[in-house]
């Protein structure tokens, strides 16, 4: 297992995870007694009023799978991982493990060996999926391993919302996943990931996207749940004109520990990346963000931006923010920023002087803090969901 002597794990200590507990409970869960129902709130469309398709997986079992007939006819595939391995194995093999090989790390290897669930989305060349696709993994079992493969071929368009969620339970649980995303030439992909795992779950993920010539990937992350999250999120802009935007929202409370390790790789000239991760922390929670913009030799005229902003709401909470640049081309524009702040007394005084009680004033300031990342989320339903999370976490 990785330990705090490994560079990427220096600030995230996983010695507290009780592996034997997981082993015992994994065999127990095979009997699948007492499936808890997936909450209805997770099944409602977050983007627009309806879905083009929905896939719901509960403890590894597919409980709902539908895709509009019109999309099926155009060759769109939207199915669970195990079905994909049987029915679309040749196609799946073209992408699976290519961005995130098992050699990436212990957890990538674990997911590769043990994956028992996941999602495969495939949009053929030139197909525009008008209605969003929505998948939910309800990860309520003690140990779960998932793989996601999302492919938008050249000239296609897709909005895909993926939820990873579970109820908080007493026993330790683990979810390990890989996410691989491909945006082909001139494809337009919007990918929204909402993680609201129970606060007993240790969540490890390797996510990597590849964007080709003039392709666009708008990638949104929200991390609300889990006991601990270690998420490697990486984007590769591999051809001229590739564009990638990564927007992250996190809010940690209690003993939560949320660690995002982001990497923006500019492999070609005239590529653009724009990352903004914003997080708030209360109680004794912790966050880590470690970011890197890499510009390969010859990747001239690239434009890279990364910013991480943290709002620390209690004395015991702590945020670490480590930006990084590695630039091997000379005609580029790369900027970064990292801030860790608190609610300021002068701001509180100003709001309260207009009649807002203290709790309300705090909530307004926290909402305001998150506004720049909300502005980047072009979906009212997602914004509303995140605003409710803020209100709940502000209690």
């Amino acid at each position: 297992m990785p330990s705090i002597t490994d560079d990427a794990w220096r600030r995230t200590d996983i010695r507290g995870l009780r592996w034997p507990e997981l082993k015992a409970s994994r065999s127990h869960s095979a009997s699948a007694n007492g499936l808890s129902a997936v909450p209805a709130r997770l099944l409602r469309p977050l983007v627009g009023g309806e879905h083009g398709g929905q896939l719901v997986i509960n403890r590894g079992k597919v409980v709902e799978r539908n895709l509009a007939a019109s999309l099926r006819r155009k060759g769109v595939i939207f199915t669970d991982f195990l079905t994909a391995t049987r029915q679309h194995s040749a196609l799946l093999r073209k992408y699976l493990g290519k961005s995130v090989p098992a050699s990436q790390g212990k957890f990538a290897a674990m997911a590769a060996c043990l994956a028992d669930q996941g999602v495969f989305v495939y949009v053929p060349r030139g197909v525009k999926v008008e209605l969003p696709l929505h998948s939910v993994i309800w990860a309520d079992a003690p140990a779960q391993f998932s793989r996601l493969v999302v492919v938008a071929e050249a000239d296609s368009a897709l909005t895909f919302v993926h939820e990873l969620a579970s109820q908080t339970q007493r026993q330790h649980a683990v979810h390990v996943g890989t996410v691989e995303v491909y945006a082909g030439r001139n494809a337009n992909l919007q990918f929204i990931e909402l993680q609201s795992l129970g606060q007993n779950v240790w969540h490890f993920a390797h996510e990597r996207s590849r964007v080709q010539r003039d392709g666009k990937l708008d990638w949104i992350f929200s991390a609300i749940g889990s006991r601990l999250t270690k998420n490697f999120c990486e984007i590769d802009l591999v051809e001229k004109g590739a564009w990638g935007r990564m927007s992250g929202f996190y809010f940690a409370e209690g003993d939560q520990h949320l660690d995002h390790d982001t990497q923006q790789n500019h492999h070609a000239e005239h590529t653009t990346s724009d990352l903004l991760f914003k997080g708030a922390l209360r109680d004794r929670s912790r966050s880590v963000w470690q970011g890197m913009i890499y510009v390969a030799p010859g990747a001239q005229k690239t434009d890279g931006y990364q910013a991480n902003r943290n709002l620390v709401l209690s004395k015991q909470a702590r945020a670490d923010s480590i930006p990084g640049l590695e630039i091997l081309a000379d005609d580029v524009r790369c900027t970064h920023g990292a801030t860790i702040g608190q609610l300021e007394m002068e701001h509180m005084f100003y709001l309260m002087s207009r009649g807002m009680p203290e709790a309300e004033a705090r909530r307004v300031l926290v909402d305001g803090f998150f506004d720049p990342v909300m502005e980047r989320i072009p979906f009212e339903g997602v914004r509303e969901r995140l605003k409710r999370v803020i209100a709940q976490k502000m209690g």
């Binding site: 300021e344 007394m345 002068e346 701001h347 005084f349 100003y350 709001l351 309260m352 002087s353 207009r354 009649g355 807002m356 009680p357 203290e358 309300e360 004033a361 307004v364 300031l365 909402d367 305001g368 803090f369 998150f370 506004d371 720049p372």
Partner: protein, 258 residues
């Protein structure tokens, strides 16, 4: 019943140093008072103390409004009692639009009266805000901007007046509202205040210069020196200061100024 703000023998310290040394002043709804004085005499200490800024420590005295000692109340409660402070240096509130801010403030006030209140309906609020912006000759796109972020000096002061116009307090303190404004901006801001003054609003204008009083006619003028109000009179007093400066006040109250 009209509102009255009554300051009784107010003593205030900042970081252990006494700044206000027994201030007495009564401002009634419908009256316009000007509080003048050189820099460093405690004018802003008075306004911040009245609003309840935690930095200022009241060592003795009372501030009575509608029969209640304001000093016993929290900042938000004072506001909901009808007190308003137009800040000298309004802070920028990133991510919070003018409209969102004002609606939250109005709804907080409604909920303080009726905890079950659902707040002002959005269409009614929009109408109110537009009316007030029109009165103050403000462009409507102001409502969608983040409060005070990137605002010019004049815009900040107008945003304060817009808040005053929307929240409808009974007593408003204008802390150096004229500072940092060029003559055109000053006229716009003063016009705005003039549209709001009347029997329902009592105003305490705190200013260093007489120039704002060319636009807003005070009923009473007070001079502050060394943490006390040393002279009170009619509008002529302001003109006298304009003509002669503060030197004669300093000489007359050498002891207070020391």
């Amino acid at each position: 019943m009209s509102a009255v703000l009554e300051i009784r023998n107010l003593h205030v310290s900042v970081e252990g140093k006494e700044i206000l040394k027994g201030v007495n002043l009564v401002v009634k709804q419908g009256e316009i008072h000007a509080l003048m004085g050189p820099n460093g005499t405690g004018k802003s200490t008075l306004s911040n103390t009245l609003m309840g800024h935690p930095h200022y420590v009241v060592t003795s005295g009372q501030v009575i409004m509608d029969g209640v000692d304001l000093l016993e109340l929290g900042v938000d409660e004072r506001s909901r009692m009808g007190l308003f402070l137009a800040f000298q240096y309004p802070v920028a509130i990133p991510g919070v639009t003018v409209a969102n801010f004002l609606r939250t403030a109005i709804n907080a006030r409604l909920r303080a009266v009726d905890p079950k209140s659902k707040g002002m309906p959005i269409p009614a609020f929009r109408k109110l805000l537009k009316e007030r912006m029109d009165t103050l000759q403000m462009s409507h796109d102001f409502a969608g901007r983040y409060l005070n972020e990137g605002f010019s000096g004049g815009e900040k002061k107008r945003a304060e007046i817009l808040q005053l116009a929307t929240l409808e307090p009974t007593i408003a303190i204008m802390d150096e509202t004229d500072s940092g404004l060029d003559i055109d901006a000053l006229r716009i801001v003063a016009d705005g205040i003039n549209k709001l003054v009347g029997p329902k609003l009592g105003v305490l204008i705190i200013t260093h210069y007489q120039r704002m009083l060319n636009y807003i006619k005070p009923d009473k003028v007070h001079i502050m020196m060394g943490g006390r109000i040393v002279e009170s009179g009619g509008p002529d007093l302001a003109l006298q200061l304009e003509a002669q400066g503060y030197e004669w006040v300093r000489e007359r109250y050498a002891e207070a100024a020391a």
